[in-house]
Symmetry: C2
Subunit: 342 residues, 2 copies
DNA sequence: TTGTAGGCGTTATCAC
DNA sequence: GTGATAACGCCTACAA
């Protein structure tokens, strides 16, 4: 057990061959003779040789490393997308490292810097809520490191994107509320700095208009991180109103669940007093009572698509295509929070 | 924008100094004159210099990179521990990359190999269910890369460990069931290949014995990944029995929730017909109705403790301490699934 | 089929 | 205070 690990040079010396031969043998280069190769591989194994990727990466100018930047991995949407990314990336010989921004702009900038310094082959990112200045991503552009933004993207940035049509999804959700007879539809909106929450708000408004309902600013709650606490806070405010909404579209499942729970505590019934729709079809939406009507946004598939797109950019390098945008399907899933089980 | 990024060498040439001076200036080395330093930093910024960590890592033999290996990041316990790890690691100047094994032995071995090759400064791991052969971790030992195992550890391996007392936690859970009057306590066990599930089963048995209850093998359901489906399957089997249990301790919250849901579907009431206890205090346990009695295992704190322990090993390198084991506290949280709200 | 030599970009050690 | 030089471990043109 030497203090320092054996290297190719060491193996070469022991076997009386050159380092290039060792290097080639270990990579199954065709030009190496059968017996030399076997011999080298055997002793490499015996001596516990471990390739040094750091050196190899430096030399090859390639790391086989994809960086993923997401707001918070403990949100179902993100952990699912990461799973999708990982599946595709590993299959293609890349490993994935994950950076959590906790929706902080600073952390996002730092993450991008680390990934640039570490020469990641590509980056997949979902923007932090705080992020509006995007110079760090622009800088990325002239490092030739491909970027895919997913879900929360930025329109000011020309880059590859994978997203759903949030406007359309929100429209469907609110149109459904209108069709089941809601007249006073409220909305818990997310941080409007973020593309998706802006689009969901627009979709909400459009659906009301399309159904000849008036848009009441008092019925729009402007949230930020859409945590359970925020949801409870808004729900309480809502149930304190004189003229209460009879339907609500929440920009995520977490706040929708809070509304249902608050309704229960305050003896309102869902959907009779108020119908509730969430967003993302997280596991909890099936478990809560009444179960939650929500939008399925296919997070896992978004992750897969993002990784495929990124790897294509890394490997094909088609100079003609400047950027590509993929829209992933979404569906309204109707459950008891809008249509009671008979 | 040239095709390849500027390096220290390039900066040196442009400024008419040596690379060593550039290197030192950018790191605020004291021996560099005020004006030279400023000048170098300014042009570095202007020309968009990005340090190449790959080269630096090779030279310094240090990557400031901690690898984390977990079964599945979409389980609340793991995403919380990762958050704890990240917080501590980032604070100390390390970045964290995450590998998901999906409980597969092969993926675990591959992850360790990638991290060894990439010269991670340390590894934090939670064993995959499939893992019983631990040679890959033993190999790690003679690379001098410190390892911390957390939660699901391995007794055959001398390494740093951070865990809770699962035996004790399970004992508390089942003792509680006995004290509220349950006479026929069932258990949904996890994969017994895993230390924690073995300990929870032991704790269960010990609590029954301590309360003079007989251990009925028919009441022990041997699960594997403890998914919702497994939970439903066992719950249905349980409710089909002639003599039904009147209490059940589930080795995780997911299966406990399935039991509650199945009970509801089959018109049994919780806790009157059967009292239910889960494990991990996941967010869902507060939301389900009735809310779930469970064990709080402080995942976030386990993550923090693991990272602190690892970083200590990386930086102190105290040759006297071979390994260290930390036991994190746990508590029984009593909710409506065992004690109805009045 | 194998060897030689140079360099990937940085930093540590000497020297001046 | 600054520079020259070598080395981290690997890969690859070129040569033999």
């Amino acid at each position: 057990m030497g203090n320092t690990r054996i290297t190719m040079k060491g193996l070469a010396k022991i076997l009386g061959v050159s380092t290039s031969t060792v290097s080639r043998a270990l990579k199954d280069h065709h030009s190496i003779g059968e017996e030399t190769r076997e011999k080298i591989k055997k002793t490499a194994l015996k001596l516990g040789y471990i390739p040094n990727s750091v050196a190899s990466n430096l030399r090859r100018r390639k790391t086989n490393h994809i960086g993923v930047i997401v707001p918070r991995i403990d949100r179902y949407f993100h952990s699912s997308s990461i799973s999708g990314i990982e599946e595709v990336a590993n299959e293609a010989g890349y490993y994935v490292s994950i950076f959590q921004t906790k929706d902080s702009y600073i952390k996002e900038v730092e993450s991008v810097e680390i990934l640039m310094s570490n020469k990641a082959d590509g980056i997949i990112a979902c923007l932090a809520l705080e992020t509006s200045d995007i110079d760090h991503y622009k800088q990325l552009a002239n490092t030739k490191i491909p970027l895919v933004l997913f879900d929360r993207v930025c329109n000011d940035l020309e880059s590859n994107k994978v997203l759903i049509n949030d406007y359309d999804a929100a429209f469907k959700a609110c149109d459904h509320l209108a069709k089941i007879g809601c007249k006073r539809i409220a909305h818990i909106a997310g941080n409007l700095n973020s593309s998706i929450f802006k689009a969901r708000l627009e979709g909400y408004k459009a659906a009301l208009i399309a159904n000849n309902l008036t848009i009441n600013e008092d019925f729009i709650f402007y949230g930020n991180i859409l945590s359970e606490e925020e949801g409870r806070h808004f729900a309480n405010a809502l149930f304190d109103m004189n003229t209460k909404p009879d339907g609500i579209f929440c920009a995520n499942d977490i706040t929708a669940v809070s509304v249902i729970q608050t309704a229960r505590e305050r003896k309102f019934s869902v959907p009779q007093d108020i119908a509730v729709v969430g967003f993302s079809n997280t596991p909890i939406s099936k478990i809560i009572q009444p179960s939650l009507t929500t939008i399925e946004d296919h997070a896992f598939e978004m992750g897969q698509a993002s990784a495929r797109l990124l790897i294509k950019q890394i490997e094909d390098n088609d100079q003609n295509i400047v950027s590509e945008t993929l829209i992933i399907r979404n569906e309204l899933i109707i459950r008891e929070s809008t249509v009671p089980a008979e």
